[in-house]
């Protein structure tokens, strides 16, 4: 499934201009204030672009000429910075909340299954505040998946974890993406994330796309100093494990 985003978002003096098509898992990188979160929020429907359109798998989510699907109809699961777990609902209730179909009982059963798959069956009744960072992370992912989305939007999914927990959760995320086979935009500051689970990298600087392409290509031919600094050292890493960005051949 391909996501096409061709939008201009104006927020005060800041403007974001993006014209991209992507599939698979794309790491969205860039300095603070580059517009990464703004891009995600436009896709989820939390803010309205002033121009352009957003098309997901052939279905128009937004078009300046009068289409603006509400977030609940977009089937786009958003995991914001800080994960956005509902603090007054248990892990189970959080995941069941994401379930769109079925009776209350069916929702709960589906949530128990999803939590069980992530080895969280034992903490179903705990509130998010009573879970470890890694467990909260998994509950947020299980909830996103419960909604059966067509696109995942993750904003710095590893930032809340302490550094020692990151490599394990990063591998978990990679396997999770592989299993769900969903297209995703993942905002991250850490090139290691891109290496582990992204097929492509989208670099934003000052509200503009400065580079977008397969990880190897971006690492070998950085187009700006920021990208060069970001990817320095990545070339030494084994990139062979990263699948080729299949959407490139599909689109062109």
């Amino acid at each position: 499934m391909t996501l096409e985003v061709c939008i201009t978002v104006e927020r005060g003096t800041f403007s974001l201009d993006v014209n991209i098509a992507c599939g698979g898992v794309t790491a969205v990188m860039g300095p603070n204030g580059a517009g990464k979160t703004t891009l995600l929020r436009a896709c989820v429907g939390a803010l309205r672009p002033s121009r352009g359109r957003i098309v997901l798998g052939g279905e128009t989510l937004f078009d300046e000429r009068g289409i603006d699907q509400p977030p609940e109809d977009r089937h786009v699961a958003y995991v914001p910075q800080g994960l956005g777990l509902f603090p007054h609902l248990s892990a189970l209730e959080n995941v069941a909340f994401g379930r769109r179909r079925g009776t209350d009982r069916e929702r709960r059963e589906a949530a128990i299954d999803l939590l069980g798959e992530l080895d969280l069956a034992g903490v179903c009744d705990r509130l998010p505040g009573e879970l470890s960072g890694g467990q909260q992370q998994k509950v947020a992912l299980a909830r996103a998946r419960a909604a059966e989305p067509r696109l995942l939007l993750l904003d710095e999914p590893l930032s809340a974890l302490d550094p020692t927990a990151r490599p394990r959760t990063r591998r978990f995320l990679a396997e999770w993406f592989e299993e769900t086979q969903l297209p995703a935009l993942v905002v991250t500051h850490d090139p290691a994330d891109a290496v582990e689970f992204a097929w492509a990298v989208l670099v934003l600087e000052g509200g503009r796309v400065t580079q977008h392409g397969a990880l190897e290509e971006v690492a070998v031919r950085p187009s700006t100093e920021f990208v060069a600094a970001l990817t320095a050292g990545l070339i030494d890493r084994p990139l062979g494990s990263v699948p080729p960005p299949s959407w490139i051949s599909e689109d062109e």
């Binding site: 429907g45 977030p71 977009r74 958003y78 800080g82 509902f86 007054h88 769109r100 509130l127």
Partner: protein, 259 residues
């Protein structure tokens, strides 16, 4: 220096505690009997009915307003918030005069109301209006700031998971604001129950019609202090019980909040 501060602090605590203790100790069973003959039950019943209607109305009308104030960041929102804050700083007697000036028979909107067949002053409805007027800020403003403090990302996440705005409100926003909502209701109710000045000016002191318990205390006191003390103790007891009940965690949980 420290001992002076401690002495001052102790004096303040005594200043608040002693009158309550003195009141509790000075009332005899005979005083209650006398208070009953002076219309204690009638006044208490009116107070309970009018404050229940006032607080119910405030919850129904004030909750959407608080939600809107919590989201609105523009100039209009700040203006409305300032307007809603006014009753908290308006002296009750002034509030009564203002209500009479607006909705009295000769008031600015008196003609409009009378063509609609409504006559407010010196009716039980006037008691309720005066109570809503003085209590509104204590409910609306804390609830608005509780709504404002909810992380917007939570609400967008909920929407992205397929929840309609109404479902987000009832499952996420309202439970998260529930401690502030119940706390606000408790304070507003206590304020409405104790309302005296605005009610006396706008609604008068007609036994069984507009004579609420605080006004009954005042009118009884002019003749005899003892039954007035008994009435005061009853009013204090009701205020404490209701206040504690609304702040208690079982009720908060029953409404979906986790205090």
């Amino acid at each position: 220096m420290r001992s002076i501060a401690a002495l001052g602090a102790a004096a303040l605590v005594l200043l608040v505690a002693l009158p309550i203790v003195a009141l509790a100790l000075s009332v005899s069973a005979a005083d209650f009997g006398e208070a009953v003959t002076r219309g204690l039950w009638e006044a208490l019943w009116l107070s309970l009915r009018s404050t229940t209607i006032a607080i119910g109305g405030l919850a129904v009308l004030g909750t959407p307003l608080a939600w809107w104030l919590g989201r609105e960041r523009g100039r209009l929102g700040r203006l409305v918030e300032a307007v809603m804050r006014l009753p908290a700083v308006t002296p009750p007697a002034v509030a009564g005069v203002a209500l009479l000036t607006a909705f009295g028979r000769q008031g600015v909107f008196g003609d409009t109301l009378s063509t609609l067949g409504v006559s407010l002053p010196f009716t039980p409805a006037a008691v309720v209006v005066a109570q809503v007027f003085v209590a509104a800020p204590f409910y609306v403003l804390p609830l608005a700031s509780a709504f404002r403090e909810i992380d917007e990302d939570l609400l967008w996440t909920a929407r992205s998971l397929g929840a309609t705005p109404a479902r987000v409100f009832f499952r996420i926003s309202l439970p998260l604001a529930m401690p502030a909502l119940l706390g606000g209701l408790a304070i507003a109710w206590a304020r409405a129950l104790g309302e005296f000045g605005a009610t006396l000016v706008f609604a008068g002191s007609l036994p069984g019609v507009t004579r609420t318990l605080p006004i009954a205390i005042y009118t009884t006191m002019e003749g005899d202090m003892a039954p007035a003390r008994a009435m005061s103790l009853v009013l204090l007891g009701f205020a404490l019980v209701m206040f504690l009940a609304l702040r208690s965690s079982p009720i908060a949980r029953a409404f979906g909040g986790r205090p």
